[in-house]
């Protein structure tokens, strides 16, 4: 139960972060007067603003990294809980059958 809510929370947060980053990137790219790929390629020799792609790459990668890790942890947590649950049920099943048959 808790694991499920954790996964949902992670997914929701990841989606929200992705949306935020997408928004911010659009806003920032709009600021650079419709700078397109050509501007990005000549990033080194034009003004400081042209380095924006690097800035957003760094921040995006950081956030994707954290959410991927949280997602990985929650997935493992969930599969472990499921396994423990299945084992417990198998044991209870055995007890019941033993009592019933015994």
């Amino acid at each position: 139960m808790k694991a499920t809510s954790l996964t949902m929370r992670t997914l929701a947060a990841a989606l929200a972060a992705a949306a935020l980053i997408a928004l911010a990137t659009t806003a920032a790219l709009a600021q650079t007067d419709g700078a397109d790929q050509a501007a990005a390629e000549s990033a080194e020799d034009s003004g400081p603003e042209a380095n924006l792609p690097y800035l957003f790459a760094a921040y995006t990668v950081t956030w994707i990294g954290f959410f991927a890790y949280l997602y990985h942890v929650s997935q493992r947590q969930r599969s472990l809980r499921r396994e423990v649950e299945a084992l417990r049920e198998a044991l209870e099943e055995r007890d019941r059958r033993e009592r019933g048959g015994g």
Binding site: T62, Y69, V84
Partner: protein
């Protein structure tokens, strides 16, 4: 348990709020650095990630020493969880560093002492996690990991010293960004907020990883119990 969950939720909320504040400060509030341009804003994340990475590996040291001394599982769990979370931070620190080096220095990588030491640090803890995966389970693997957790941390200053000396013989071609001492007050404030935010995020991730570790142990115990019980049951049924 309820206390645990409350504390975890409080940590998550605090770190999320601080993170939003950091994003606001970094992207909107703080002025652009004159010489390095807009890409200097990577600095706030990069340095905070580095600081938290070191903090995490210091926790690995504490957990390792504690385990060898007291032989208690909780110290071992602290070391393991902290090493894994620390690796996430250190990996991101290296990636953001590389992404900043390209616009700031014109190259993705240079053998600057700090970069070299960070990369070796990363390799040491990658080996640590490999050892945790490949070593036998139980106290033997925990002891092995504890030894590496201590050696690795103690070795870092020596690595740094040797690399600094090595580079003094062959001076670096590129000049690094301004030293932290000459940071403008507003920039230093943003860096402080970012560092605190990442430290809270680290605490949250560490709690989650420790909870996962407890589940792993619980699953291991359940497997052993189920195996012995069901094996006996199957043997009886077969007979």
């Amino acid at each position: 348990m309820a206390m645990d969950r409350m504390a975890g939720k409080a940590l998550l909320v605090t770190s999320a709020a601080l993170m939003l504040l950091t994003l606001y400060l970094v992207f909107i509030w703080v002025p652009t650095e004159r010489n390095l341009g807009i890409s200097q804003r990577i600095f706030y994340f990069h340095v905070s990630l580095a600081w938290v990475g070191f903090l995490a590996f210091f926790f690995v040291l504490v957990g390792s020493v504690g385990y060898l001394w007291k032989r208690s599982r909780s110290y071992d769990n602290l070391a393991y969880a902290s090493a894994e979370v620390g690796m996430v931070f250190t990996t991101l620190m290296l990636i953001t560093g590389v992404t900043w080096a390209k616009p700031a220095w014109g190259v993705w990588w240079t053998w600057d002492p700090k970069l070299t030491t960070s990369l070796i640090l990363w390799l040491i803890y990658a080996a640590y996690l490999m050892l945790r995966a490949y070593a036998p389970a139980g106290s033997q693997g925990a002891r092995y990991a504890a030894v590496l957790g201590i050696v690795g941390f103690v070795d870092v200053p020596i690595i740094y010293l040797s690399v600094v000396w090595w580079r003094t013989v062959h001076p670096p071609l590129v000049v690094g960004p301004a030293a932290e001492g000459s940071l403008e007050p507003s920039m230093r404030a943003v860096l402080m907020v970012a560092t605190v935010a990442f430290t809270f995020l680290f605490a949250h991730l560490l709690m989650e990883r420790l909870a996962l570790r407890r589940s792993e142990e619980e699953a291991d115990r359940a497997r052993v119990v189920a195996e012995s019980n069901l094996a006996g049951y199957r043997a009886m049924e077969g007979a």
